[in-house]
């Protein structure tokens, strides 16, 4: 029962934090709000490739670093603090985890791990809530695909029978970029002809939920980082902002909320790290732990983003402050990979509480 990161892991997080603080400044991040979005996030991705990050979760057989889920989620928290865009999540998390579980018949993992190829995975379908409907061939329409524009490789998960899911390499995809609530994390629709796609792996419910659970833990860690940043910004603001001749952080109404923000963040961090350790050491505990992590992270990210705006007062409601970016990230991430009701239902089922 060892939650404590090793010195090496602490160093990784420290370096990542320094790198992201330097490379993904407010100015860089704000390029995501305009026409330069693609250029900005591609530049950041190239720097991540130089650092070898795409190889983190890839196996040693393709020169990957085979880092633990625990280590990767520590990095995710640092990324979440800065609101990095979705290239890492699409390629180094979704694509790598999918290929690990479903198979890699085309041998794409090596190029993804080296960063030579940037991939993403199309999972969800329009009108379906965090499930995959059975496809019967023809045109497959996917939605909410992370960082699809400019991706070198688009993979897709397609359910072809009740307990059979294929991992496809998509050719000639039609990509339609959507306006996203969280502009720092672009989303797209992807359509393709099933007949022209190549099957690179297959699996069932276990592979699918394993992939989604690890991705959920990673996302939950990013959200915890974002919540922590909201709190840090709030603490620094209420410490210097004076009204009635004193710093407003001395008022109990403000203090109680700030303390609640910390409580909810610590809870989320615990749930995330427990789930990450479960992924590494006791996979049978992962589904419930991942759901708990997501519920806690949803609560932390949304509460902290909302409270940070409230505690900044009028200035917190302005476009110039980055607080709204954290709010939009929180609300978009809240429904990514399952909202709280979805995960609570999943936990309830695991506790033996079935629908009447």
């Amino acid at each position: 029962m060892d939650f404590s990161p090793t010195e090496e892991q602490n160093l990784l997080v420290q370096e990542a934090t320094q790198f992201l603080t330097a490379e993904w400044t407010t100015e860089q991040r704000r390029r995501m709000l305009g026409d330069e979005a693609g250029a900005a996030s591609t530049e950041l991705w190239k720097r991540m490739v130089e650092l070898g990050w795409p190889a983190l979760r890839a196996p040693e057989s393709v020169d990957g670093l085979d880092a633990s889920v625990f280590e990767t989620t520590l990095l995710a928290e640092a990324m979440g603090r800065r609101l990095t865009p979705g290239e890492f999540f699409g390629s180094a998390v979704l694509a790598v985890e999918a290929l690990r579980r479903f198979g890699d018949a085309s041998g794409r993992m090596e190029a993804i791990a080296s960063g030579e190829v940037r991939a993403t995975v199309a999972i969800w379908e329009p009108g379906v809530r965090w499930e995959l409907g059975v496809q019967t061939g023809g045109t497959v329409r996917k939605t909410l695909v992370e960082s699809a524009a400019g991706a070198d490789l688009i993979l897709a998960l397609v359910r072809i029978a009740e307990d059979r899911v294929e991992l496809l390499e998509v050719a000639e995809a039609a990509i339609e970029e959507f306006p996203a609530l969280d502009a720092t994390r672009p989303l797209a629709g992807v359509s393709f002809d099933y007949g022209k796609a190549t099957v690179v792996g297959t699996g069932g419910e276990a592979e699918l939920s394993g992939l989604l659970d690890v991705a959920t833990v990673f996302l939950a860690s990013e959200m915890t980082g974002a919540a922590q940043q909201s709190l840090d910004d709030t603490v620094s603001y209420v410490t210097q902002r004076k009204q009635f001749g004193v710093a407003v952080g001395g008022f109990q109404a403000v203090q109680q909320r700030a303390a609640e923000m910390l409580a909810i963040i610590e809870k989320a961090r615990s749930a995330v790290q427990y789930a990450a350790l479960a992924a590494d050491e006791s996979p049978e505990d992962l589904p419930r732990a991942a759901s708990a992590a997501k519920v806690c992270a949803n609560q932390a990210a949304v509460y902290c983003a909302e409270q940070s705006i409230q505690l900044h007062g009028g200035i917190g409601f302005t476009w110039e402050q980055d607080l709204h970016l954290y709010l939009k990230r929180a609300k978009a991430a809240e429904v990514t990979l399952g909202d709280s009701a979805f995960h609570l239902d999943r936990i309830a089922r695991s506790l033996g509480l079935d629908a009447a």
Partner: protein, 371 residues
């Protein structure tokens, strides 16, 4: 509750304790005398004072062993210890601040429950603002003469001794004029009255001191060090209390889930039960993750989270009863009792408001108003 594997040493410790508890089952439905006898049995077998240094009868164990001890005793249905206040508050205070004579004289009796203890900290006009306490101890030869009133003293009706805070110097800044002392409750001038709470029980009592003579040799640490003694005791012991409460919560959760399963419930209640599971489980994960940090102000976070989680859990348990929640049931295991008792959780041992203020000022570093 899922948790990670013990180290081989921890596993051996767990197994030894589990086997011992199977061979020595705790009393069912215990009366007071049974509780005292049971603590004595635990003491004779060497299970008490795990975190206390070996020279004071303990094992010098760390938090993981404490965690295991709490888990295994909760699993075996071990009741609250008769001398809980002695074990959690008084003993640690004497270990950090008492004289060698006091340690030798009192610590064994605390562990064995031969001498039951209570604490005399809070007063009617000094609750959250403990430093405002008014009980006065004036010097007279080799004694202090103590006059005043204490309240919320758990176990006071059974206690022989009280670790009390009294004001020895009213003319210095208020935190500095307080002294800690051991008061024999059989002294002349002491009156102990039970205090009935909303459940109908009387876990707490009031203690009245009317010109009670306390030998100066009963003073703990130096004159004026009382605040320091109280703070050291609180911060150290909040970690163990946090772990104890968290483990107990798991039992309540199991009851809740079993009730929900047996009675069936609608979709929104299922989600509330799932949320309660998350809240309870995450407290355990946070205790394990924070580890030694629990010895600091982070323990306040655990206390707030625990009390609010237990309140939601008990509220939910009561609501599962449907219309029959309206029936009276004074059994300690009933949701009616649990719900009522839980309302005290966010008040006892520091109100949630005070604890959040501590977190804001001491952990987040927000300014202290008026400072």
């Amino acid at each position: 509750m899922p948790r990670f594997a013990d180290t081989p040493e921890q596993a051996a410790f767990r197994l030894e304790l589990r086997n011992w508890l199977e061979a020595h089952p705790p009393p069912a439905d215990p009366e007071w005398d049974d509780l005292v006898q049971w603590q004595r049995t635990l003491y004779d077998a060497g299970w008490l004072g795990l975190s206390w240094p070996a020279e004071h009868g303990g094992r010098g164990a760390g938090l993981p062993e404490q965690f295991i001890y709490n888990q295994e005793t909760a699993r075996a249905g071990v009741p609250d210890l008769a001398n809980g206040i002695g074990m959690l508050i008084v003993g640690p205070a004497l270990i950090v601040a008492g004289s060698a004579e006091q340690q030798g004289r009192y610590l064994p009796g605390i562990l064995s429950a031969e001498e039951i203890w209570c604490q005399g900290f809070s007063e009617p006009n000094a609750g959250s603002d403990l430093a405002g306490l008014q009980t006065r101890a004036r010097e007279d030869g080799d004694d202090y003469v103590v006059t005043g009133q204490k309240i919320w003293s758990s176990n006071s009706r059974h206690a022989r001794y009280c670790l009390a805070l009294a004001r020895t110097d009213p003319d210095v800044p208020r935190h500095k004029g307080i002294t800690a002392m051991i008061i024999d409750l059989q002294s002349q001038g002491v009156t102990v009255k039970p205090l009935r709470q909303i459940t109908g029980d009387a876990e707490f009592g009031e203690i009245f001191f009317d010109e009670v003579r306390v030998p100066k040799t009963n003073r703990v640490a130096e004159e004026g060090d009382g605040w320091m003694v109280a703070m050291k005791t609180f911060t150290r012991e909040r970690a163990n209390i946090a772990i104890d409460l968290t483990v107990r919560l798991e039992r309540q959760l199991e009851r809740l889930i079993a009730s929900a399963r047996d009675q069936g419930c609608d979709a929104s209640t299922r989600r509330e039960v799932a949320q309660a599971w998350i809240d309870g489980a995450s407290l355990g994960w946070t205790c394990e993750r924070l580890g030694e940090q629990l010895y600091g102000f982070h323990s306040s976070l655990i206390k707030v989270a625990w009390s609010e989680t237990n309140q939601r859990l008990q509220t939910l348990g009561l609501s599962l009863l449907g219309p029959e929640a309206a029936l009276g049931d004074s059994e300690r295991e009933s949701w009616q009792f649990g719900y009522q008792r839980s309302r005290g959780n966010s008040i006892e041992g520091g109100t949630s408001e005070i604890l959040r203020t501590i977190v804001a000022e001491r952990v987040l570093g927000l300014p202290r108003l008026g400072k």
